[in-house]
Amino acid sequence: MIKKSALLLATVMFFSILLAGCGGSDKAASPAPAAGGKKLIIYTSMKESLISGIVEGFKKKHPGIEVDYQSAGAGKLMAKIAAERQSGKILADIIWTSEVPDFYSMRKEGILEQYKTPLINELVNPFTDYDGHFTAARLGTLGIAINTDKIKTPPAQWSDLLKPEYKGAFAIADPALSGTAYMSVALLEKQFGWEFFEKLRANGARIGKGSGQVIDDTASGELAASLAVDYITNDKIAKGAHMALYYPPELLLAPSPVAIFKGSPNLDAAKKFVDYLLSKEAQTLIAAEGTLSVRNDVKTPEKFKMPEPADALKRSIKIDYVQMMASKEATIKKFTEIMQGKK
């Protein structure tokens, strides 16, 4: 009896493993046909709530094209791309993240396909050196998210963060982990200099983890306020979090460029996706998530109380992305040193 049941179990396990093995190879194989030109693969750092709707919309519009996407932090995606390049084949066709300097370096390394979208004239373009290698598909903004239970007077200026209300309760995501956080640190430094961070530090500000986590910590009351990405914050507010997002006059704008990899076997489909992404339909979806569209003809829903895209661009702190790319490590190091009080 015992022997039988042991045998049975062993058999069951054996077959389950066979199945699992097949399943596993299916998965491993799934990107392969894409490389052969069947499935369009998108690597993006956009959160599920943003990307899934857009992909669904694209599928509806182009039923013949199969699309799959992988959503992860920009750093993780870049590491994967680096590894894929080593093995000689980038599995993705399209990349869409918020880490602008990455696009500059990829352009420099020549792995991006040049595609000047016909829609370019309808768009708000933050890149003065636009040449079609990448196109901004969203204008991310960062503001001050506050926990409305803890902070009663909305912040109007960046310098409000130095008030006692925020003492020991404000955080910026770790720029080593989050691309947007790095962007904001660089922008704020450009505008206000390191002494702004030194003052923040003096008021007990600290480094959080990921850009999402500081927002969740603000929602939970662990933080009174944080430097927050628009659509993540707005998503939580929509779900009932006791938060509000405010923009000081000097706006932190982090464009999210989209690009096609050189040698993509799905070039046609990739171009169609880029165009779809920039279309009014997709941009409306983007705006509905609580972030800024790149189209002037798309209005962000009123409830988010966000600036117009063109206006936002005008208000934003300007920076030289190429130079920013070069000084990334030094900036992060300096920031960390200041915020951890090592200096």
């Binding site: 932090g73 982990l177 969740d216």
Partner: protein, 575 residues
Amino acid sequence: MSTSTQKMITPAGNTLAPKSSFGVAQIMLFLSIAILVIVVAVPVLLIFFNAFWVNGEFNLRDVVKIILEPETYKALINSLIIASGTTLGSTIVGTFFAWLVTRTDLPYKTFMKSMFLVPFMLPSFIGALAWKMLLSPHSGFINKFFINHFGFTGPLFDIYSYWGIILVEVMYLFPFVFIQVCGALERMDPTLEESARISGAGLFTITRKITIPLVLPSILSGALLIMLYSMAHFGTVAVLGIENGIFNIPTLIYQRIHQSGGSFDSIRTGTVLATVLVVSAALIIWLQRKILSKGNYQIIGGKSFRPMELKLRTLRIPLFIFCLVYIGFTIVLPTVVIFLVGGLKTYGLPFTWENLSLKNYKFILFDYKVTKDAIWNSITLGLGAALITMFAGGMISYVIVKMKVRGKGILEFLGMLPFSVPGSVIALGVILAWGGKYGINLYNTIWIILVAYIARYMAFSLKANSAALEQVHDSLVEAARSCGASMWQTLKDIVLPLVRPGMLAAFFLIFLPSLRELTVSIMLYAPTTRTIGVAIYTLNEDGETVVSAALAGIALILIIVGDTLINRFTKKAGA
């Protein structure tokens, strides 16, 4: 049989038979060495190699430089502080509870004993997540409760601290000591204590002078196991430490690799850190051997009377309540919090009916690609690693335990290697070995995680299989040979059926922990290859607290169901 006797008489028999059995032994030995070399030895050696050789030259100066960097040096110190604190705490807690459930008249002892084993199943990083929700300084439920209701101006306890990390690790690691000490106390010859009593010693004197010194080797071996584990542990420190700038070696390696974007420099820093970790681990193991060899007492034997029970008298009920409270705090409370937070619309909302739903759970299981993939990945990885390791480990153990072939010594050494290599080191080694530098690039695929799991869990399989094989006395095999069975027939008819329970044990010993694995996977995952552990961790890092809590809840259910099924099954098989 007469045919075989005839065959023996004919000279043909002599030339044919001996060659074939010789070949089998050699093939198995070769395969075993090959597996261990490829899976374990090469990755580990590559770490050393890459740490000390730069551009083909031996370079110690860079190594020293890296180690002397404040961050590295601090991480090493942190690793030591956390590991020591955890070891000390767990040893005290584990020994105390083991003593309580084996040597006293505590009520419901067997139930208590099984409850104290529960934390063994719970992944400590999920525990850390739960405790973060309970004790983060401003929003932790317990801290908030005290601030709101008792007029506390600050938090009762700040979990983002050394104390917090150590506390959480103690809660989930103490069973290592508990199990060892319980076992030793249960097996201990009760007349060792009785003879002390008749010598005139009271019960407390006996506990102090006889019982504790005698189980000291077990206590130590459990303690060092914890030390080893804690030194190389990623999850708890990642969840609770990074916030406050507390890094240990694994989290620092993770951060470096994460930031590398594929650049080799940071991997190299990683290799130096990993070397430090391996050296510390080797030191700990050496220490353990040294201490154990000195005090490995034979304390089993004699007629088994019921061991004497210390009457707790007035302390009986208070200690019972204390145990219940401990269990409530370490097991029930965190689990409940995980499930409740997993049901929230968004983190930070109070637990009211309108805020709670099963939507997140549904989302994770049916809609969310990341988590769906993660669950599927973990299950297939677990099954794959368990199955491969079960068979490979079975074969290797057979060669080590049973076969008399030349070259076995190497195998024994290689077989010991996986026991001493921490998970994050294996991960790094696997990146070096399979990252494309040597022709095969598995980086960013699921296969690299599989390879790493196999390397990491080989030790478990070797242990379980060897234990099973030790039980198969040589004479059982020889009896079959003398009955006319060839070596293959003997393996098939006698050895395999007898070690099947051991192989099954190995399978589950690997399958279950790999379901919740984090330390290795976090270093190796790619966007497409998240495991459950990685998904929980990254979702939490991304601020998807409620989703990550819900996934953690589902992981807990998976683990508990799996464990229960296995206990059922093994009990049935054992009966």
